[in-house]
Symmetry: C2
DNA sequence: AAACGAAATTTGTCCGGACATATTGAGGGC
DNA sequence: GCCCTCAATATGTCCGGACAAATTTCGTTT
């Protein structure tokens, strides 16, 4: 091989890099529409395959959101710092093989300032709370305590929510909506009084906290869930290919 | 695969579901080769586009690994329990916008049993240690302490490693290898004595621990890095589309 | 004005083909 | 045996086209 260093990047990567620069420069204000696929084909003189591959990359990075029939828009909070983006987890969101999950409706609650800060939400809002514990077969200590909050707009369907299926899937079916995006924030926290008691760990012991926000196609937050895992029992694993 | 309509799911999803079931049933022993794309085209009577879309899905789930020229193999540890698998983070592995990272070579170390357990490695092995701190502009407290261990096979190139570029990229260039996969385990731990001092947090306070293993194309672990982040300063964010 | 429905728009799925590039293995030369 | 070259193989990139499905737009009707 003669020219070792400068091997040109594939065309879709160049298109992606160009669009990424435009987005981060603010050429398409957050939330506003981007050019359509055919427009990009004409602009760069490439096929739709190449454009779609570039857009797929930007979507995986969380910079854009796409909807069939609607178009491509810049994700309003896609450029926030300290954010790593991942895709395509399908049904696995709530699983843990060999574990069972039981939740109970608690009722409507109004967020306290403290709780609102934990959830990254507004204090005083009314949400419908579900509480649950996840246990592994053979273990006596639970591996997770979960508090799920459903928006008050779904008050009518909340009594119909059953165990055995994720809450957000039931909200989709019963509420006639579609979850388009899930954000997930992972932090280390000290166990609070309630978590310590339910998870059988000492108070203030290190726990993994996973806050999920379920957003529908119109951008409204439909459900929030806060899971707390004992630090010694739970590891969140992932892998990256094609480094 | 069923010839039944099942018009709800696109064809590539049906192919993916069929292959996923075969993999989990153990039809292709872990690490062994799967049928080639053209073989799958013939078997399912679909185009290469559809097969590649199905394989892309399985790769995103971490079930398979693919290499140009070589083929597709079942990922040996793709089916392990308590593991959520995610993909495609590309270059963003080590970033944190607005932060700076400084590391220093410490020298060769032999893993103590304690440290080996933290790293999920063998005690007594010899690795080359680098230590570093990551600080955000404007903050006086660091947001991460990182210990990176390079395998002894790269002892010759370790003195050539410089700041300003990730260690694993330099190992690729200087050592003539290629990182094919990165695994990442996130846990909540209590700050140890050393972390507490460097990160300016109380001992045993909750911290986020991120253990990364860099694996080359032949499956050898080339580098391991253990980052510890103060729980109150660091959140690991991600998002999932197309739920 | 509100409700309805058809048409245009836009992304998703799928096909067949072509060439590029990385890997592997067989064969030949030393 | 060892090393090099070359061909076969498998995945990556890219093209042009076609139809399907979801959404939006807009004109028509009530």
């Amino acid at each position: 091989m003669t020219t070792r260093a400068a091997r040109a990047a594939p065309r879709y990567a160049q298109v992606a890099a160009d669009l990424r620069a435009e987005i981060q420069r603010g050429d398409y204000g957050a939330g506003s529409a981007m050019p359509t696929e055919s427009a990009l084909c004409a602009r760069y003189g490439v096929s739709r395959f190449t454009v779609r591959e570039a857009l797929r990359q930007l979507q995986a990075e969380g910079l854009i959101r796409r909807r069939r029939g609607s178009g491509t828009v810049v994700d309003p909070d896609g450029g926030s710092a300290l954010r790593q983006s991942l895709t395509d987890v399908k049904e696995l969101l709530q699983y843990a093989s060999g574990s069972t999950y039981q939740f109970e409706p608690v009722g409507p609650v109004v967020l306290s300032p403290q709780r609102a800060r934990d959830l990254n939400a507004e204090a005083g809002e009314r949400w419908h709370l579900f509480e649950g514990l996840r246990t592994m077969a053979g273990h006596h200590r639970p591996i997770a305590y979960t508090a799920a909050y459903v928006h008050d707009a779904f008050a009518a369907v909340v009594p119909k929510v059953r165990r055995g299926e994720t809450i957000f899937r039931q909200l989709e079916r019963l509420g006639g909506i579609k979850i388009a995006k899930v954000t997930q924030d992972i932090r280390a926290i000290g166990a609070g009084a309630r978590e310590a008691e339910l998870l059988k760990v000492p108070r203030r012991s290190p726990c993994l906290s996973i806050l999920r926000c379920y957003v529908d196609t119109t951008g409204r937050i439909v459900e929030m869930s806060l899971s707390v895992h004992p630090g010694d029992l739970f590891t969140y694993s992932m892998h990256i290919d094609e480094v």
